[in-house]
């Protein structure tokens, strides 16, 4: 019976042991090898004190070992917490402290590792690193030597914690989104069935591990016993290399943010490549500008396209399979209908369901929804909507997406915007309030305003403006240094203006529209 995310790997290891589970830069790992190595890692972690529900960090560049780390941690009964390998050490250290990570799966190649450990963390167990600074260490060689046919015997249920993904939080620090084996598997099984994945599929693995798209890449692929092809981080920035990899690895399914696809369309010389094996092109994370989407569909007429929608809190909760030809006009494409086993509700400001065809906030209930935010009862209180049922003695719990939508007569949903100040930049989710809070923590700043401007590539760039307290001098570089030491690179404003005074609205608020337009 399959009810844990790691079961899918064990199952594939039984039915097709020699089939490639993961590929990376010409190397590969079969399902049997992945199962044996992750069993070995699980045994090492349990020996070193990992217990059911413990959070174990993953801090390394993506490789074959990413899959070993994910499944090894879950087989040890732990929840894996992917740490952004490119985030400032102080931010990574915050996440480690926030959810109490005491074990870190890493590699010596990770450049910022020493900087991270210099952040004064408590004694940690490092798997995959050489011993240093009083931290306990086990090498990857030992993990391979411990490879085993069986995982440690631990009682777990589908309701146990499987992974925590950290995302931008509006109060100035990231928040941890807790997913269980059930919520992860619910999404993976839906995705594998909906896109008809089979063992012969070769699926892209493009998103960073700390980004929720990666759960499709690792888990939906494994549900089908297919092969996930890990894209080296360096190549994700190079559209020509990315497109070549797509052809060379004969990928059949691609999944990424629209930005990566637009880059490949513009600079990947797609017409010169043989992409005949490609059958599904899936995108999520941001609105795909219709103009570019139309061009991409024309360039790849044999491929089917699907728009997946869902905040990280729900994995994916609605989807829209595009018709072969898009209707004329620049209307944004729909986010579609709820996935199987998902209930949607659209409510007004007072939490009352809206009339048919009216706009409101989208609420989501079902197997894919997260358990809650790590250590944040305040957010858990606000983040869920409770509908009394069965004589009001019980409740159906919905996640409040904060997204405003409208249901069309054909049943599909149209995305209208946000209720708050969350924005997307090249697929990454950023709270503008967090950017402002981080800048304001600089003592010489009087006021800060963060806003988005179009990047000319179909997405947004974040910019900021500040005013300085009387008696202080400040350069834009100093603010930039402060922000980039605390925010992930994608949330650092592209430009920061130091201004005498801010433009104001008639009610005295900072006029961010005016700042945006200048």
């Amino acid at each position: 019976m399959r009810y844990l995310l790691s079961h899918v790997v064990d199952e594939a290891a039984r039915t097709q042991p020699t089939h490639d589970a993961v590929r990376f830069s010409g190397l590969s790992l079969s399902y049997a090898e992945l199962a044996r190595r992750s069993n070995g890692l699980a045994r090492i972690l349990v020996d070193r004190g990992v217990r059911r529900g413990d959070r174990v960090g993953i801090f390394m560049n993506k490789s074959l070992d990413s899959a070993v780390a994910i499944h090894g941690i879950m087989k040890a009964g732990g929840a894996y917490v992917p740490l952004d390998p490119f985030a400032p050490p102080a931010r990574v250290a915050f996440v480690i402290r926030d959810c109490g990570i005491r074990h870190l799966v890493t590699s010596d190649l990770k450049l910022d590792q020493s900087q991270l450990l210099a952040e004064g963390l408590d004694r940690m167990t490092l798997v995959g690193a050489s011993p240093r600074d009083g931290h306990d260490a086990v090498g990857w060689v030992e993990v391979e030597a411990s490879a085993s046919d069986s995982a440690p015997a631990i009682e777990l249920t589908e309701q146990d914690l499987a992974y925590i993904l950290y995302t931008s939080g509006s109060t100035g620090t990231p928040k941890g989104i807790m997913h269980t084996h059930r919520s992860g598997l619910s999404f993976a099984e839906w995705a594998a069935a909906t896109y008809g994945l089979t063992p012969s599929d070769r699926v892209s693995n493009h998103a960073p591990l700390h980004f929720d798209l990666s759960t499709f890449d690792f888990f939906a692929t494994a549900v089908a016993g297919a092969t996930t092809v890990v894209v080296p981080e360096a190549l994700t920035k190079l559209p020509a290399d990315l497109a070549r990899l797509m052809a060379k690895e004969r990928l059949t399914v691609w999944y990424s943010v629209p930005f990566a696809l637009m880059q490949m369309l513009e600079r990947g010389s797609l017409a010169k490549l043989d992409l005949s094996t490609l059958r599904w092109l899936l995108f999520a994370g941001e609105v795909f500008p219709v103009k570019h989407l139309r061009e991409l569909m024309a360039a790849l007429p044999h491929v089917r396209f699907s728009n997946l929608y869902g905040p990280t809190e729900t994995n994916v909760c609605t989807f829209y399979n595009l018709p072969p030809t898009l209707p004329p006009g620049d209307e944004p494409i729909s986010i579609g209908r709820p996935c199987e086993n998902v209930e949607s509700l659209i409510v007004d400001e007072d939490g009352r369901p809206v009339a048919e065809g009216e706009a409101g906030e989208l609420l989501i209930r079902g197997g894919v929804v997260m358990r809650g935010y790590w250590g944040r009862p305040d957010l858990n209180e606000k983040g869920f909507f409770r509908r009394p049922v069965f004589g009001r003695h019980y409740e159906d719990v919905f996640y409040r997406t904060g997204d405003l939508v409208e249901r069309m007569p054909d049943g599909n949903l149209t995305y209208l915007g946000r209720k708050d100040r969350q924005v997307k930049t090249r697929g990454y989710r950023v709270e503008l309030d967090e950017v402002e809070a981080v800048i304001l923590s600089l003592v010489s700043i009087e006021e800060a305003a963060a806003f988005v401007v179009p990047d000319g590539q179909g997405s947004n760039l974040i910019e900021a403006a500040v005013t300085v307290k009387a008696g202080f001098q400040l350069t834009p570089e100093a603010v930039m240094n402060h922000a980039s030491a605390r925010l992930p690179h994608y949330a650092v404003p592209a430009t920061i203006r130091v201004m005498e005074v801010f433009p104001r609205t008639s009610t005295g608020k900072i006029d961010r529209r005016e700042l945006q337009a200048r």
Binding site: N61, E233, R267, S269
Partner: protein, 84 residues
């Protein structure tokens, strides 16, 4: 001609905005997260404008852009092709 000094200066000023990140010739700037996809585009525009080379899209690949050394080697090679 020295391509290295102006290139390092450009990356420090315009990409890193004066952030203090140690840069050496051989460092893999892509895997280390110094350059993202927009950063690469800006470097390409800089190379074209400052050194008068044309950089076709299919040349913007890992072997030509992984490090400062790879980029200056690429410019040198493009210059030689241009003269021939």
């Amino acid at each position: 001609m020295d391509y290295k000094t102006p290139l390092i200066e450009f990356i420090k000023q315009d990409i890193l905005h004066g952030r203090n990140v140690p840069l050496d010739d051989e460092q893999d700037l892509l895997s280390a997260g110094v350059l993202d996809s927009l950063g690469i585009l800006r470097v390409v525009a800089f190379l074209e404008e400052r050194f008068g080379v044309r950089v076709p899209d299919e040349d913007v690949v890992f072997e030509n852009f992984q490090s400062i050394r790879a980029m200056t080697d690429y410019v040198t090679q493009q210059k030689a092709v241009g003269k021939a």
